[in-house]
C-alpha cells in the first residue's frame, strides 16, 4: 500500500476537522514558539553583553573594594572603603604590565542649567579613563592631570544630559552648569554610545576629575573603583597578580588575611555574565521544553479520543480493504502531520515574537538556527511517539465490532 496514498488519506482526514486539528497542535505551536523566542532572547542578550564588554577592551581590569560581589554587579554605597590614593601611587610605581590607571567615584544628583534641570550621574575619573573605556570626544577637549591636581571644576558632558538641559541646540562648550550646588564648566562633549547591555543609557553622564568629585561632591577620600588597562591581552593575568600583590602590601594585609578588594578582568566578567545568561537560557528552554511535552500529551489525548470516535470509520476502512498496518500508518501520519505543521507555525510564531520583543522592549534577539532544527526534530519525535499508541489501538480493532459500534 503506497505511502503517498496513506499521506493523502491522513491529510484528508485532518482536513475534515480543521478546528480539532488546530486545537490539537496548539500545544506544540506554543511550546515551539516559546523555545525559539526564549533562546533568541538569551542569545541576543549574551551576544550583546559580550560585544559590549569586548568593545571596552579585553585588557580592562577593574578593582572593586570588597570581596562579596555577586557576579560582577557592584554593590553601591560607601560601606566598603578600602581603595585610596596611596593605592594609586603604589600601583603606578610597581605594576609594569599596565599602561593606564584611573580611580572612579560616582554620585547621582541634579544637573542644572538655569531653569532646566535633569537627574543624572557624575563620574569622577582621571584622564586615563578615556583610554581605558575607549571614550571619544565629539567636540572640545578632555581634562588633564593638572585639572586633577587642582580639583578643577571642569567636566565632559554626555548627549542625553545636553538634550535635557540645552534643548535649544546651542553649543554647551564653555557654559557653566551646576551639579547639585557645584558649578562646572563644560569643556568637552562625549560621543554618543547609546544603551549598554544592561539597558542603561551610557550618554546620561557627566565626567569630571576625580579629585573634584571626591572633595566637592562626595567628601570622601576613598574610591569606588580603580580601572586599569593591561598593556596587552597576554599579560592581563600577570597584571592582575601584580595589582593584587601591590594592593595587599598597600593595605598591609597579612598572609592569612583575605583580600579586602576584588580584581576582575574583562574576560572574567564576560565569562561570568555569559554563564549566568547561559544558565538563564537553559532554564527558560527547559520550561519551554516541558510545554512541548505537554503539547505532545495533548496530541496523544486527542488521538485516543479520535480513534474511539472514528471506530465506525475504521471498521469501514477495514471492510473495504484497509489492513491493520494501513490504519496504523494513517493515524501515525496524522499525528506526525499535526506535530510538524504545529512545529512550522510555532517556529514562525517564535521568530515573530522575538522580533516584536526587539521592536517594543529593545531587547536584542538573535534567532538560533540550532533551536529551529532541534525544535523540528523534537516535533517529529513527539508526533511519532505520542501518536504511536493510539494508532496501534486503532489498527487492532476488530472490523466486525467496529462496524457495530454506536
Amino acid at each position: 500500500m503506497n505511502i503517498t496514498n496513506l499521506i493523502r488519506i491522513a491529510f484528508r482526514a485532518l482536513l475534515r476537522n480543521k478546528l480539532r486539528a488546530f486545537l490539537t497542535m496548539l500545544g506544540i505551536i506554543i511550546g515551539v514558539g516559546a523555545v525559539i523566542t526564549m533562546v533568541a532572547i538569551g542569545q541576543g542578550s549574551k551576544e550583546s553583553i559580550q560585544s559590549q564588554l569586548s568593545s571596552m577592551g579585553s585588557n580592562m581590569i577593574t578593582v572593586l573594594p570588597a570581596s562579596n560581589v555577586n557576579g560582577g554587579v557592584r554593590i553601591a554605597g560607601s560601606s566598603f572603603q578600602t581603595l585610596t590614593s596611596k593605592d594609586i601611587t603604589l600601583l603606578k610605581r610597581n605594576v609594569e604590565d599596565i599602561n593606564s590607571l584611573s580611580p572612579s567615584v560616582t554620585s547621582r544628583g541634579q544637573a542644572i542649567n538655569g531653569a532646566l534641570n535633569w537627574p543624572t550621574q557624575i563620574q569622577g575619573v582621571s584622564p586615563d579613563y578615556m583610554d581605558i573605556r575607549k571614550l571619544t570626544l565629539k567636540d572640545g577637549i578632555s581634562f588633564t592631570n593638572a585639572d586633577v591636581l587642582t580639583s578643577a571644576k571642569v567636566c565632559l558632558i554626555g548627549q542625553t544630559v545636553i538634550d535635557n538641559i540645552f534643548p535649544n541646540g546651542e553649543n554647551p562648550i564653555g557654559k557653566i552648569i551646576r551639579f547639585n550646588r557645584i558649578p562646572f564648566q563644560i569643556i568637552g562633549i562625549l560621543n554618543p554610545k547609546g544603551q549598554n547591555a544592561f539597558g542603561q543609557d551610557q550618554d546620561d553622564i557627566i565626567i569630571a576629575p576625580y579629585t573634584t568629585v571626591q572633595k566637592r561632591i562626595l567628601a570622601t577620600i576613598y574610591y569606588q573603583n580603580i580601572y586599569a588597562s593591561a598593556t596587552n591581552e597576554s599579560v592581563t593575568d600577570a597584571a592582575v597578580n601584580e595589582i593584587t600583590e601591590t594592593l595587599r602590601e598597600s593595605h598591609r594585609l597579612r598572609d592569612n588575611e583575605d583580600n579586602d578588594f576584588q580584581v576582575r578582568t574583562q574576560a572574567e566578567l564576560i565569562n561570568t555574565l555569559s554563564s549566568t545568561s547561559g544558565l538563564l537560557t537553559t532554564l527558560l528552554t527547559v520550561i519551554a521544553g516541558i510545554s512541548l511535552v505537554i503539547g505532545g500529551i495533548g496530541i496523544m489525548n486527542i488521538m485516543y479520543v479520535s480513534v474511539t470516535e472514528r471506530t465506525k470509520e475504521i471498521g469501514l476502512r477495514m471492510s473495504i480493504g484497509a489492513r491493520g498496518i494501513d490504519i496504523l500508518l494513517q493515524f501515525l501520519i496524522e499525528a506526525i502531520i499535526i506535530s510538524i505543521i504545529g512545529g512550522i507555525i510555532g517556529v514562525l510564531l517564535g521568530i515573530t515574537a522575538a522580533r516584536i520583543v526587539t521592536l517594543t522592549l529593545n531587547w536584542p534577539t538573535i534567532i538560533s538556527e540550532t533551536s529551529i532544527v532541534v525544535s523540528f526534530i523534537v516535533c517529529g519525535i513527539t508526533g511519532i511517539f505520542f501518536g504511536y499508541y493510539p494508532a496501534q489501538k486503532a489498527s487492532r480493532l476488530d472490523p466486525i465490532e467496529a462496524l457495530r459500534y454506536e
Binding site: R12, R16, G315, L316, S319, I320, G321, A322, I400
Partner: protein, 249 residues
C-alpha cells in the same frame, strides 16, 4: 461462461464467551454462480449476520470451507483477507457508512486508495463512472449531509462497484429507507444484476425485498431451512411505477 463465485461447504462457526458457547452456524452448504441475485433471509438469531461476516471475509469459519472466486480463505492471513475484501467484494451497509464531510466522489474513491495499482487519474475516472452508473453524476461534490438517504445509499453502492468486485454483499441495504426509496434501490440492484451481470448477495429479513431476487436462502437457527429459486420474481421498477402518487398526508 458461468463461474462459481461462492463455494461454501459445511460451514460451522461457534463463539465462546467465558463458559458459554454459542453455535451461530451449524453446517451451511451452498454455492453461488456468477450473475445470480441471491437473498439470504432469516430473523434475528438465525445466524445470517455471522454468515455475512464470513462471506465478507471479515471473519473465518471454525470448521468448513469457503472459497471466494476459487480462493480458499482458510489459509489467508489478516492482510491477505483485507486485500481480498478490497479486490473482490463490494460492501453495502444498512447505515451507508459514508465518510462525513467528504464529497461523494472522495467517498467512492476510498477503496481505490487502498489499491496500490491504481493511479490517481484512473482512480478519479473510475469513481466518476461508478457514480454515473448509479445516476448521481451531478452530485459528485455533495457531502452526505447534502444527500437524501436513498442518494447516500447509491453513493455507497457506487463505492462498492468501484474496484470491480466479483460480488456485491449487501447487509439490509434498504433497512434505513422508506418504501419508495427502498424500491428505487432495489431497482438499481436489479439493473446492476440483470443489465451489468453483477453477482449480488443480499441479506435481509423483509420478504417483499427478497422477492426482487432470483433465489432465496432461508436461514433458521444456524442451518439452511430452504434454498429456492424465486418463482414470482418481481420487477422493482414496475412496483415503483405502480405506487400511488401521494404528495401530502
Amino acid at each position: 461462461m458461468s463461474k462459481r463465485i461462492l463455494e461454501i461447504h459445511d460451514l460451522k462457526r461457534k463463539f465462546t464467551m467465558g463458559s458459554e458457547t454459542v453455535r451461530a452456524l451449524k453446517g451451511i452448504t451452498f454455492n453461488v454462480e456468477a450473475g445470480e441475485f441471491v437473498t439470504i433471509m432469516g430473523s434475528s438469531g438465525s445466524g445470517k449476520t455471522t454468515l455475512l461476516n464470513i462471506l465478507g471475509c471479515l471473519d473465518k469459519p471454525s470448521i468448513g470451507t469457503y472459497q471466494l472466486d476459487g480462493v480458499d480463505i482458510k489459509a489467508l492471513s489478516r492482510n491477505d483477507l483485507a486485500m481480498l475484501r478490497n479486490h473482490k467484494i463490494g460492501f453495502v451497509f444498512q447505515a451507508y457508512n459514508l465518510l462525513p464531510r467528504t464529497s461523494a466522489l472522495e467517498n467512492v474513491e476510498l477503496p481505490l486508495l487502498y489499491n496500490k495499482d491504481i493511479s490517481s487519474a484512473e482512480r478519479r475516472e473510475r469513481a466518476i463512472k461508478a457514480l454515473e452508473a448509479v445516476r448521481l453524476a451531478e452530485r459528485l461534490d455533495h457531502t452526505p449531509s447534502q444527500l437524501s438517504g436513498g442518494q447516500q445509499q447509491r453513493v455507497a453502492i457506487a463505492r462498492a462497484l468501484v474496484n470491480e468486485p466479483v460480488m456485491i454483499l449487501a447487509d439490509e441495504a434498504t433497512g434505513n429507507l422508506d418504501s419508495r426509496t427502498s424500491y428505487e434501490i432495489m431497482a438499481l440492484m436489479q439493473d446492476l444484476n440483470q443489465n451489468q451481470g453483477k453477482t449480488i448477495v443480499f441479506v435481509t429479513h423483509e420478504p417483499d425485498i427478497a422477492s426482487f431476487s432470483s433465489r432465496t436462502i432461508m436461514l433458521r437457527d444456524g442451518i439452511i431451512q430452504k434454498d429456492t429459486m424465486n418463482e414470482n420474481r418481481k420487477s422493482a421498477r414496475e412496483v415503483l411505477d405502480n405506487l400511488p402518487h401521494t404528495d401530502d398526508y
